[in-house]
Symmetry: C2
């Protein structure tokens, strides 16, 4: 049934940049599954070179020495399709802009690059009718870019909430299941290779924020710069917070939330990353270890969930190859690439406009009238308290307050007021609740 027999169509020249855990797997699959891929595309995919910093470096997967080169510029100039797996901004950005300017298509798994320079790359692609595919940039092997971009193209996405960082999910999962401290869980994550030597990008939420930018931009047809993503990592998550969540049949997760908001000035969008407390029955609560999952709510489609491995060499390579085959098919069939859709151009809501329920744990002086005083502060700032639990102990008392839905701005004002209140010894924790 294939009308484009592979012996009638010239090979497509693939340049691979990077030979790390993902790059080496992509190279292996391209070489091992050469015939199968040619049949799927309708033309052979010829790996013309693998660009690396050091051709002599030792690698886990053996790669044909004649394909390795440290002259990335020349390699890129020779390719029909450039697969970028270098990570980081430069030289990836410049190499891809060169590739696109020359009319080549691009596949990348580089979330930091897409989050920071996506619009620039998409614009460069559009100018020449080329395409930038980046399925692997969010959720590793999980198809989420294409479903948002294509499957839901006729729907209105209201909300995307995802566990998009495997390292922090592993750590929080371990704090719950093993009763580990954050430091202990991080040490295990590092030992198992889930966390890097410098774990900042993961545990401070930078990685998840890049992904939030990408998801929000796609979901709302609006450029959402990474700078506007409110970001809070997991370093403030304590054992006490984990125990408190468990007492209420809840689980702490670090999530990226992208949401349409109806503000006073009309519709706006919000993208943020922070820990939340989820009911144990929520589908995302069951996402264990380093797995990822993305929960999408659309106006017509309702709730959808996409689950799978969020990282890993072969897993991410699967998504990269899916992108590569899609682009290669378009080469064979003809026609320009689809442009990024940013027509909606909605305003970005200030973080203060975001609505959420909060749970606050306070240590307060243990004397009568304190609760009334604290409750008064909430009322003063227009935040309605849903539940209070008070446990007295040795001259001070612990107070756990759950709020009704309130804007982040009001909650921030309450927190300021609590900090200044003479009866409040300290604010032990603040966590947002998801229903």
């Amino acid at each position: 049934m294939n009308p484009y027999p592979t012996d009638h169509y010239r090979s497509l020249r693939i340049a691979l940049l990077g030979a790390g855990s993902v790059g080496s797997q992509v190279a292996r699959l391209l070489l091992e599954h050469r015939d199968e891929l040619a049949a799927r595309v309708g033309a052979p995919l010829e790996l013309v070179g693998i660009g690396v910093r050091d051709v002599a470096a030792k690698r886990d997967v053996e790669l044909p020495a004649e394909l390795l080169t440290d002259d990335l510029g020349t390699l890129v100039a020779s390719a029909d399709i450039v697969v970028e797996l270098l990570g980081g901004i430069e030289p990836a950005r410049s190499l891809l802009l060169d590739a696109l300017a020359a009319g080549a298509d691009v596949v990348t798994a580089n979330k930091a690059l897409i989050a920071a320079h996506g619009p620039e790359l998409f614009q460069a692609a559009e100018t020449v009718g080329a395409q930038v595919n980046y399925e692997a940039a969010v959720g590793g092997a999980i198809p989420i870019i294409r479903p948002l971009e294509q499957s839901l193209a006729g729907d209105r996405v209201m909300r995307v909430m995802g566990i998009v960082n495997g390292t922090t999910n592993f750590i929080l999962d371990r704090m719950h299941t093993e009763g580990s401290t954050l430091e202990e869980a991080l040490a295990v994550a590092t030992e198992l290779g889930y966390a890097e030597a410098d774990p900042t990008a993961d545990i401070e939420g930078f990685d998840a924020a890049s992904k939030a930018t990408i998801l929000a931009s796609l979901a709302f047809h609006t450029v959402v710069p990474v700078e506007v993503v409110h970001r809070q990592g997991i370093t403030g998550v304590t054992d006490a917070m984990v125990e408190q969540a468990e007492r209420n049949d809840r689980v702490l997760k670090l999530v990226a939330i992208c949401e349409r908001l109806e503000g006073e000035g009309g519709e706006a969008v919000s993208a943020r990353v922070h820990p939340v407390s989820l009911p144990a029955t929520h589908p995302l609560a069951a996402v264990r270890e380093a797995k990822n999952a993305i929960f999408v709510t659309a106006e017509s489609a309702g709730d959808l969930m996409f689950y799978g491995a969020g990282a890993g060499g072969p897993e991410t390579a699967s998504a990269v190859l899916g992108d590569l085959v899609s682009i290669a098919r378009r080469h064979v069939l003809g026609g320009p690439g689809a442009a990024a859709s940013t027509h909606a151009d909605l305003p970005i809501a200030p973080f203060g406009d975001v609505l959420a329920r909060h749970e606050l744990a306070l240590t307060v002086a243990d004397r009568s009238g304190v609760l009334a005083g604290v409750a008064g502060l909430f009322a003063e700032h227009g935040v309605s308290v849903e539940s209070v639990r008070q446990d007295p102990a040795d001259g001070e008392a612990s107070l756990v307050l759950g709020t009704h839905t309130a804007s982040e701005a009001r909650i921030a004002a309450v927190l300021d007021a609590l900090e200044a209140h003479p009866d409040v010894e300290r604010i032990d924790s603040v966590i947002r609740l998801i229903d």
Copy 2:
């Protein structure tokens, strides 16, 4: 950023066939979201007509009377894109072949048609460079066709296991949660509109078999005719089987399984529909009520799951519109449609080659030596028994045997032998176990 302003590109003429629960929602969304869709596509989508059997019929959603027509042939001839939501084989098949012959593209949610005549339609489309999109045919709103076709295009799918029929999932879920009999649960499903007046297509597994055909064909790049799908519905599922599953922390589900098998003659594929007993911890076990979910295992990507609403007017309409926007974008950008990929053309494994663990409940005579005799039958046919539980009661005894993995052919032979054995009063139930 959109290089194709909608005022520079002519309208795309959309013919809608069918105005039932899905069709009326598609019409509503096309009319209500006209501007938004035009911006996403780069050209206005003009609904030129809605083909129905009876223009005077009463409908739940009010549709513009001037768009309704019972002259489907003329309507189809005028369209750039035909959206077929009639269901059934004829006249859908002939109308779509006419549309494709005239160079129009097709979007359909018709699983029976795609399962029975997919290859014919895809061939007709390929001849003229047109496209047939059918995301809504499996899993309603859940993006599964596009992920299999595109996202996993560079991977090797090993197995697809899905809850793809909401009616039977609702019934089985209710038998578990409410302790209902199958008849009671079916009555509730009918009352709630989950089951049709004649529920045969659902409860006998015909609907799931159509979907198994579609999933297997896509996953394995091989035409898998619906006739070769081994099919067993839920009518044989008894309260006793539900209770037995629960005693072992298991849940009964009707699933479609599409699998690559390594047979004696090399690689082959299998597609089948039957109830299985899943551990309560399996991700598919948590799929409740009428929801659908598809669990995909690929060589590189590992395990993926796609979850959401498997039916419903607006939900299915979301998938239809996603297909429509994709096709319309291609119209604007140019280039022919992608052909169906059936290059692998793997043989279909006979059902007897499929491997599974089974659990059998027997009523046997309550006298010594019976267990040895029965166990001997299993050994004789090369089926290894993993577990046995025996409960004596009033002259007869109930015997529950769990097997190790064995071929369906061997199990069938064991069942024949058990039927003929003088000590076996009856075979109460047989269920396949998934780990």
